[in-house]
């Protein structure tokens, strides 16, 4: 059954339309990401799901039940906000207990559960600490434990890793994935980082300007983006102009067979589907940047410039003439409007 179902959701904030017709469905226990630049409405979307904002149009169903008449505290949708919002007047344990305390869970029971969650997030020994005395990563762990302790039907994570340094972030990602695996909580993560989204979620909804452009598995969103905007969001990529005639795409770099109607097309091909061949050819290496585990090279051919990813061991020098192998089978075609 669908845990969350959103139909044609419109939200206005102070006269401005922020969400312009959102459709979304999430299965039980699924981990999805809302991916998009800041200001695209992804935080507004989770706040609306949680009932903190009222939609102007459209419906939200949680476990098949229309959420509209439900107050935020009755929805079972818990947000972990970007700024964490731990209660400063409560200690770590009391923070984690908060949701259960509000629901009237007896003290012994809720303490036991809070402690077991603190153990899960590796915060045992900190239960009597003041939250203001914790580091950023520790606060994040407490906020996560507090949210899970409230037994959410849907866990909403708002940019959970932006304020953390790289190493802490890696650990937190592991922890969140581990918790998701153990507890199987339906999770929606808001992020602007395409790598976090690809790494963590089963499906990704790519958002722009209050709309979902594509909602599909991580693999599909990366490999078969439905629009150049989505393709661009996952890093630098190449576009090759060409014409399709009689099911054959003809371009500067070569031809290939595609089952498409005739007309002008653009072929998107990712840098990792191009390969530099060491034997001399018509391509000139314009720049090379070394990134540790790989290299990004910019290769020129006539007036076309192409990004190519190469292994770290390949010897590339700027100005060198090389040849290029294009894997046309990985190309994604977009019809050009005339």
């Amino acid at each position: 059954m669908q845990e969350l179902f959103i139909k044609d959701l419109h939200v206005r904030l102070s006269g401005k339309e922020i969400l312009k017709g959102i459709h979304l469905e999430i299965r039980k226990g699924e981990f999805i990401s809302l991916l998009g630049p800041s200001g695209c409405g992804k935080t507004t979307l989770i706040k609306t799901i949680a009932g903190l904002l009222q939609p102007d149009q459209g419906e939200i169903f949680i476990r098949g039940q229309n959420a509209h008449p439900l107050a935020p505290e009755k929805r079972g949708t818990v947000i972990v906000f970007q700024d964490l919002r731990l209660f400063p007047n409560l200690n770590v344990l009391e923070n984690v207990e908060f949701g259960m305390r509000m629901k009237g869970v007896p003290k012994g029971l809720r303490q036991q559960k809070a402690l077991s969650l603190l153990e899960k997030v590796e915060m045992i020994g900190f239960e009597r600490r003041r939250v203001n005395a914790l580091s950023g990563g520790q606060k994040q762990r407490v906020a996560l434990a507090r949210a899970i302790a409230a037994e959410p039907s849907i866990l909403l994570l708002d940019e959970p890793f932006t304020s953390l340094d790289v190493n802490t972030k890696e650990k937190m990602i592991e922890l969140v994935l581990q918790l998701h695996q153990d507890l199987n909580i339906t999770t929606v993560m808001v992020t602007h980082d395409q790598r976090d989204a690809l790494l963590m979620s089963a499906r990704i909804a790519v958002m722009s300007d209050g709309q979902i452009l594509q909602y599909d598995t991580s693999k599909r969103v990366y490999e078969a983006p439905t629009s150049p905007y989505v393709a661009d969001y996952f890093g630098k990529t190449n576009y090759l102009e060409g014409m399709v005639k009689g099911s054959a795409f003809r371009s500067l770099l070569g031809d290939c067979l595609v089952p498409l109607p005739d007309g002008p097309y653009q072929m998107m091909i990712r840098p990792n589907h191009l390969r530099i061949l060491a034997k001399p050819g018509d391509f000139i290496i314009l720049s090379v940047s070394f990134l540790g585990d790989r290299m990004n090279a910019l290769v020129g051919y006539q007036d076309q410039e192409l990004w190519v990813t190469a292994g770290p061991d390949v010897e590339l020098t700027v100005g060198e003439r090389v040849n290029l192998d294009v894997d046309f089978s990985k190309g994604v075609f977009y019809k050009k409007e005339i």
């Binding site: 949680a50 009932g51 903190l52 107050a71 935020p72 505290e73 929805r75 079972g76 949708t77 818990v78 947000i79 906000f81 700024d83 919002r85 209660f87 400063p88 007047n89 409560l90 908060f98 949701g99 509000m102 629901k103 003041r130 203001n132 507090r146 949210a147 409230a150 909403l156």
Partner: protein, 274 residues
């Protein structure tokens, strides 16, 4: 250069601090000495004789000082309590909601401090006479509340603005009802402001002389009214004694406010969120 830096960073702040401290403590010390002075003719640096007649006057029972003190404390506590109860929701409306005429309303709440007390008192007195509130404890409490509201409103509006609704949103999504959110999240976060505002209201009410006299019509005697004749008549020993008692009880009430609230709400510092 180093000595100048040292002067600015260490010596100067300390000098200011101790000067301020001295200017508070020195008069207090003088008051204390005066309270127990028998005769203190000019130009002696210290009194010639000491006397304990002030203790009899204050605590002997015949002057009625203690009864007045307690009823006065009760009136001021009531004023502080009601002012806070009015100010919390009103400050919330002004700080967090947008409505027509908000700026004007915010300005209106400050009027009792802007309009001179005498002018404001006359109008209030006429109104209170018509409402049969003149010469009653209720009338005195009401007029004190009007006078306190600008201060409590200003303090609580600023604190409410600073805390915002972020924590409340978090409490709601964690499953707290709006009432629970207010009780367990909003109130503790506002507590530093509430303590400050309540102390302010208490001391304004407690030291109010003119308005109490006018609205109370002499029937309602508060401590500041009680001690006024002594200060005017020039019995420095007795008036010093009353002044000490005045300061001591106010201080005691403040400490009580703070320890009780902080103990109850586990608030140890001021928290603000943006």
């Amino acid at each position: 250069m180093k000595t100048i830096n040292n002067l600015v960073s260490k010596v100067l702040p300390k000098t200011i601090l101790y000067t301020a401290l001295l200017s508070v403590l020195l008069p207090l010390g003088v008051l204390l000495i005066w309270s127990f002075a028998g005769s203190w003719p000019w130009p002696n640096l210290l009194p010639k004789t000491f006397s304990f007649r002030v203790m009899g006057e204050l605590f002997g029972g015949y002057s009625g000082a203690l009864q007045v003190l307690f009823s006065s404390i009760l009136i001021s506590l009531a004023v502080a309590l009601v002012s806070i109860l009015i100010s919390i929701p009103a400050a919330r409306a002004i700080a967090l909601y947008d409505f027509w005429g908000k700026d004007f309303l915010e300005f209106i709440t400050l009027l009792p401090v802007i309009v001179p007390v005498t002018a404001f008192a006359m109008g209030t007195q006429i109104l209170f006479i018509r409402l049969n509130l003149s010469d009653t404890v209720l009338g005195v409490i009401l007029v004190h509340i009007i006078l306190c509201l600008p201060y409590t409103m200003k303090i609580l509006t600023e604190v409410t603005k600073a805390t915002g609704t972020k924590m409340e949103c978090q409490a709601l999504v964690l499953g707290a009802t709006p009432f629970q959110t207010f009780r367990y999240v909003t109130l503790p976060l506002l507590m530093p402001g509430i303590i400050a505002a309540a102390s302010m209201a208490y001391i304004i009410s407690f030291s109010q002389y003119f308005l109490t006299f006018l609205v109370g019509g002499g029937n309602i005697i508060t401590f500041s009214m009680f001690m006024f004749p002594y200060i005017q008549s020039g019995d420095r020993t007795i008036s010093s004694g009353y002044s000490i008692l005045f300061i001591a009880t106010s201080l005691l009430v403040f400490i009580l406010f703070e320890t009780l609230m902080k103990k109850y709400y586990h608030v140890e510092e001021v928290y603000f969120f943006n």
